[in-house]
C-alpha cells in the first residue's frame, strides 16, 4: 500500500545531505512549512542553498535557519521585507551569498525544472543588471534572456489537505510557490494542516497530484502569524 505519511519531523527530513539545494515554499508569512524548516536545524544539514521568495521574518522558520548559520547561499527575489533583519545582518557581514532573481523568473525556473525544460527565453530582466553575463537573443525584434532550470534536491512545502498518496490542496494565498516547488523537488516533503482519507479530495480539485510528493507530515498548527 502506498503510504507517504510520516510520523516525525526527523523521518520527514531524513537523508537531506550537506550542500543540498532546498526549495522553501511560502510567501510572506503564509504557506510556510515552519515546523519542517526549523526541523532542519535539529537535522543538522549544513552549507545549504535555499531557494525562497523571501528571506524569512522575525526569528522563526527560514530566518531561524539563517541565524544558526546553515545556509551558504540564498536564491531569492525579495530578501528585504519588514522583519528580515537576520538576513540583512548576515548579508552585510558577507556571511551569506545572494542570487537575486526576478520573482516570475524564479517561479518559471522551478517550473521548467519540474517539466524537463533545461532552459527557456524570457524578456524579464533583459537590459538590466540581473541579466549581466547571461545569454540573450533577439526574437521578433525583442531581447530575451536565456534562463536555466532551477531544480531542488529537496522541496519543503505547506499544504492545507493531504492524503496518503500525497495529493495536496492549499488554502487561499498559501498556495503561492508551494505547488511549483513540490513539482521541482527531487525529494518533496510536505507539512499539512489536515490529513484526510484517500478519496476525500475531489479528483477535479487536487492541486498537486501525489506523483510530486514523497513524504507528508501532519502539523495542525492553526493560522499563520506575522
Amino acid at each position: 500500500m502506498i503510504d507517504k505519511r510520516v510520523r516525525s519531523v526527523a523521518e520527514a527530513l531524513s537523508g537531506i545531505h550537506d550542500g543540498a539545494t532546498v526549495l522553501v515554499g511560502g510567501f510572506g508569512a503564509v504557506g510556510q512549512a515552519n515546523i519542517l524548516i526549523e526541523g532542519l536545524i535539529e537535522h543538522g544539514a549544513r552549507d545549504l542553498t535555499v531557494v525562497a521568495n523571501n528571506a524569512g521574518y522575525g526569528r522563526v522558520g527560514l530566518a531561524r535557519l539563517l541565524e544558526v548559520g546553515r545556509v551558504r547561499k540564498l536564491i531569492c527575489s525579495f530578501p528585504r521585507i519588514v522583519g528580515s533583519t537576520i538576513f540583512e545582518t548576515l548579508y552585510k557581514a558577507g556571511r551569506i551569498e545572494l542570487e537575486l532573481v526576478p520573482q516570475g523568473t524564479l517561479a518559471e525556473r522551478m517550473r521548467a525544472a519540474s517539466a524537463g525544460i533545461p532552459a527557456f527565453f524570457t524578456a524579464t530582466g533583459a537590459g538590466t543588471q540581473l541579466a549581466e553575463g547571461k545569454e540573450t537573443r533577439e526574437i521578433d525584434g525583442r531581447t530575451y534572456v536565456l534562463e536555466q532550470a532551477l531544480p531542488g534536491d529537496v522541496a519543503i512545502v505547506e499544504a492545507w489537505r493531504a492524503d496518503r498518496w500525497g495529493n495536496l490542496t492549499y488554502r487561499s494565498s498559501g498556495r503561492n510557490f508551494n505547488p511549483v516547488m513540490a513539482a521541482a523537488g527531487k525529494l518533496t516533503v510536505v507539512q499539512t494542516q489536515h490529513m484526510v482519507e484517500l478519496g476525500e479530495i475531489d479528483p477535479e480539485t487536487v492541486v498537486t497530484p501525489g506523483i510530486f510528493v514523497d513524504r507528508v507530515l501532519h502539523v495542525p498548527y492553526g493560522d499563520p502569524t506575522g
Binding site: F27, G28, A29, V30, N53, A55, S77, F78, P79, R80, I81, V82, S84, F87, E88, Y91, K92, L98, L100, V101, P102, Q103, G104, T105, A107, E108, M110, R111, T122, A123, T124, G125, A126, G127, T128, Q129, L130, T143, Y170, R171, S172, S173, G174, R175, N176, F177, N178, P179, V180, V207, D223, P224, T225
Partner: protein, 216 residues
C-alpha cells in the same frame, strides 16, 4: 515670477490613475502610491485586480476583526477576495504577467527615461541587500505600464530624465507617467504632455524635467 499651483497629493495622483482605468481591465498595482489606486475606482466600475502571489479579484482591506490570516497580497497586507475571484500558483500567476494578459500594471519609480526605461528597484546594487520582487516581470509583461510618482525628488532633482542613473527595471517599458504635476505619455516621438495641474505652465513643467517634453 512664482506661479500659483498646488501639486497633487498622493491620493489625488492615485485618483487620476483610477479614473483612467476602464471597466473590465485586469490590473496589477505595485506598492506605494499605486496601491492607493484600488480604493478610488469609481463605484460600479468593475476592474479586476491581480496580485503576484496567485490572486485575481483582490478586494479592499478587510474590516477590523474580519481578517483572514491566509489572505494577503504581494505587499503582505491582509486583503479580501471579491466574488468571482480565484487562486492559482506562482508560476501560473507570472505566466499571466509575462504572457501579456494584464491590461495594465501601475508601478512607482525612482526614474523614468524619455525612451520609457524605468528604474524602480534599487538605488545601487552595492549598499544594501537588494530586492527586486516581481517588478521586472511586471514591467515587461503587462500590456501597458503606467508609472505614478512625484515629479521630482525631495531635494528637487528631476525624476523624468534623459537616461536613468539608477539600475534599470526594464527597457522602454513605460507608456504613461502620472506625477503630482502632470500626465505624460511616452510616445515614439518623445514625452508628450497630456495634462498639467491648474496654474502650472509648460515652461515651468519643463524646468522641473530633465528630458525634453512635447506640448500636447
Amino acid at each position: 515670477m512664482s506661479q500659483q499651483f498646488t501639486p497633487l497629493t498622493r491620493p489625488q495622483m492615485a485618483g487620476q490613475v483610477a479614473e483612467a482605468i476602464p471597466s473590465g481591465w485586469y490590473v496589477n498595482l505595485g506598492i506605494g502610491i499605486p496601491t492607493l489606486v484600488a480604493d478610488q475606482v469609481p463605484a460600479g466600475r468593475e476592474v479586476i485586480f491581480h496580485s503576484e502571489n496567485g490572486i485575481l479579484g483582490m478586494g479592499p482591506a478587510p474590516a477590523a476583526g474580519a481578517i483572514d490570516p491566509w489572505l494577503i497580497n504581494a505587499g503582505k497586507q491582509h486583503i479580501t477576495l471579491r466574488t468571482g475571484g480565484s487562486f492559482f500558483h506562482h508560476a501560473d500567476s507570472f505566466a499571466m504577467i509575462r504572457g501579456g494578459h494584464l491590461d495594465l500594471c501601475v508601478l512607482g519609480a525612482f526614474e523614468v527615461a524619455e525612451n520609457g526605461d524605468i528604474a524602480n528597484w534599487a538605488t545601487s546594487v552595492q549598499d544594501t541587500a537588494p530586492a527586486v520582487g516581481g517588478a521586472m516581470d511586471l514591467a515587461v509583461g503587462a500590456k501597458r505600464l503606467w508609472v505614478v510618482m512625484e515629479h521630482q525628488t525631495k531635494d528637487g532633482r528631476p525624476r523624468i530624465v534623459k537616461r536613468c542613473s539608477y539600475p534599470l527595471t526594464a527597457m522602454a517599458a513605460v507608456s504613461r507617467i502620472y506625477t503630482n504635476l502632470a500626465v505624460i505619455d511616452v510616445t515614439p516621438e518623445g514625452l508628450r504632455v497630456a495634462g498639467m495641474i491648474d496654474g502650472l505652465d509648460f515652461a515651468e513643467l519643463q524646468n522641473r524635467t530633465e528630458a525634453e517634453l512635447i506640448r500636447a
